[in-house]
């Protein structure tokens, strides 16, 4: 049996709140499945499971805050656990498992405390943000049906004041994310239910700290730590982007609008390839130890338009075609801005790429995200005088700055990394 624990989703995270379970006892899960949402200072993170099997027990209830490393669920081997789960599933559950902390278990007593529903119904419930716990099923043997879920989609819930109000699931999720007190909100939805549009202008909970403030606090803590603890060194290099941009222009002419690439994907791929060649920059510093990275996972600094900054990882960014990388990058940035990042994206990067060129600055001197050991900043691609074959010509130039941890690498190695990056960008057709 394996334990699914509260993950560390950042260097400064010591505890997290289990926001929501997306599985219940008896569910079969595979490696990589998203099984829970954890609320952190960086927002709500979808947490994946790294062990396949059957959920035997949910040990922590929704809304509980627990330290990193706390066991959240027990996962049994698929074969044995499924056998033990099959009997209770075929008949209404006796529901004798502990509910004292929203805990559900399966195993020792043979009890099953999880609502019966097909995977399709569970997916629908997830889409509509309807918790299956407590729903009365109208299907065979009390099984929850799609209609049960949809009818429950607009249901009475307890407002922060304690009053019962009707609110749509989406509005409820929005209110939770924005810490809105919807007690006195006038609903304009079906049967007077509160819809998302009704939340505009509604007040925040009196004692609540806004997500924006929490994120700011998390960023401040991480950057202060980085500045205090990491002996940064910097090396800078100017790269002629003429060949890469010409290749990109021709490439995009041959592609449909949905397949077009942006220069950022070339930067990303070049960083990932250079990282492979320079393993000293592909690591994390944890405690007093260098932990070697296991792939080429590059964090992308994504600014949130309402304020704030996140840097989820694009894993194995050196793999696959540029078109595939472009699609993955677009998806990652979209999800980061929508607050739908995954746990594996929060911890696996060893280096971060930040690009402020589109905001017009010529260069950026960035601070490392601990426990990573490097960060690379791209400025704007600007037309500059450049010497080619002893002639001064106008070329598109980008200034790239590497900030790295001097405990792990040195300027010589950093310089070699930037030169490798330059070489990759001179051969865009091979990226």
């Amino acid at each position: 049996m394996a334990e699914f624990v509260m993950p560390s989703l950042g260097a400064d995270m010591t505890a997290g709140t289990l926001g929501r379970w997306l599985v219940t006892v008896g569910d079969r899960v595979s490696q990589g499945d998203i099984i829970a949402e954890v609320e952190t200072d960086k927002g709500t993170i979808e947490v994946e499971v790294f062990t396949g099997g059957v959920i035997e027990a949910l040990l922590v209830g929704e809304g509980e805050k627990v330290p990193v490393g706390t066991a959240l669920a027990e996962i049994g081997e698929a074969g044995t656990a499924l056998e033990s789960a099959s009997a209770p599933v075929s008949a209404p559950a006796s529901a004798s498992a502990s509910r004292s902390r929203g805990i559900m278990t399966l195993g020792g007593s043979g009890d099953l405390d999880g609502p019966m529903a097909t995977p399709a119904v569970r997916r629908r419930a997830h889409e509509l943000d309807v918790p299956l716990q407590g729903l009365s099923g109208t299907g065979e043997h009390g099984r929850i049906t799609r209609e049960d879920v949809e009818q429950a989609a607009v249901a009475e819930v307890q407002a922060p004041s304690g009053d019962r109000v009707r609110i749509s699931p989406y509005a409820r999720r929005l209110a939770r994310q924005r810490q809105i007190d919807f007690t006195d909100v006038q609903g304009t939805g079906p049967e007077g239910a509160i819809a998302a549009r009704d939340l505009e202008g509604a007040p925040a909970k009196a004692s609540a700290e806004s997500p924006k403030k929490r994120m700011q606090r998390a960023i401040a803590a991480a950057m202060t730590r980085a500045n205090d603890e990491i002996p940064h060194y910097y090396v800078e290099h100017a790269i002629d982007m003429g060949t890469a941009l010409e290749w990109l222009r021709e490439k995009n002419q041959s592609l449909s609008v949905n397949e077009r690439l942006v220069s950022g994907v070339l930067f990303l791929r070049a960083v990932a390839r250079a990282l492979r060649k320079h393993p000293l920059l592909n690591a994390t510093w944890q405690g007093r130890e260098v932990i070697q990275g296991d792939g080429s996972h590059v964090g992308l600094a994504v600014s949130l338009r309402g304020g704030g900054l996140v840097a989820p990882a694009l894993r194995d960014a050196d793999q696959g075609s540029l078109s595939e990388l472009m699609a993955r990058m677009t998806d990652l940035v979209s999800r980061a801005r929508a607050g739908a990042m995954r746990s594996s994206e929060m911890t696996s990067a060893t280096i971060t790429l930040t690009s402020l060129g589109e905001r017009g600055v010529e260069s950026v001197t960035p601070i490392i995200f601990p426990p990573q050991v490097a960060i690379v900043g791209f400025g704007a691609i600007l037309t500059r005088p450049w010497v080619v074959d002893d002639q001064i010509v106008a070329r598109p130039i980008v200034r790239v700055t590497l900030g790295a941890d001097h405990r792990v690498s040195n300027g010589h190695q950093g310089a070699r990394f930037l030169v490798a990056l330059d070489r990759f960008l001179q051969e865009p057709d091979k990226l």
């Binding site: 002419q253 609008v257 942006v262 950022g264 338009r305």
Partner: protein
């Protein structure tokens, strides 16, 4: 297609890219990259959305003709 219908479609496509942008804060004559903090990936997604909604193909070299919402409406109106 009338101009206000094109505007509504372009705004809907923009909302898909940046849902946090309120329609009333988008004026027709301001630089949308600068004012709305859009980057090249956002612009590409916007162009893709316009293509899907209206069937208008916008080549990369014409992005510069769509710096403001008003410019974009004029550009699209000329190609429907």
């Amino acid at each position: 297609m009338k101009r206000d219908e094109i505007r509504a479609t372009l705004m809907a496509c923009l909302s898909d890219v940046a849902p946090e942008i309120a329609e009333e804060e988008v004026e027709d004559d301001v630089d949308i990259r600068d004012e709305l903090d859009l980057d090249s990936m956002d612009i590409l997604r916007w162009v893709q959305g316009i293509h899907k909604a209206l069937g208008v193909e916008i080549p990369e070299e014409d992005y510069g003709k769509m710096t403001s919402l008003g410019d974009a409406i004029d550009y699209v109106a000329g190609r429907i």
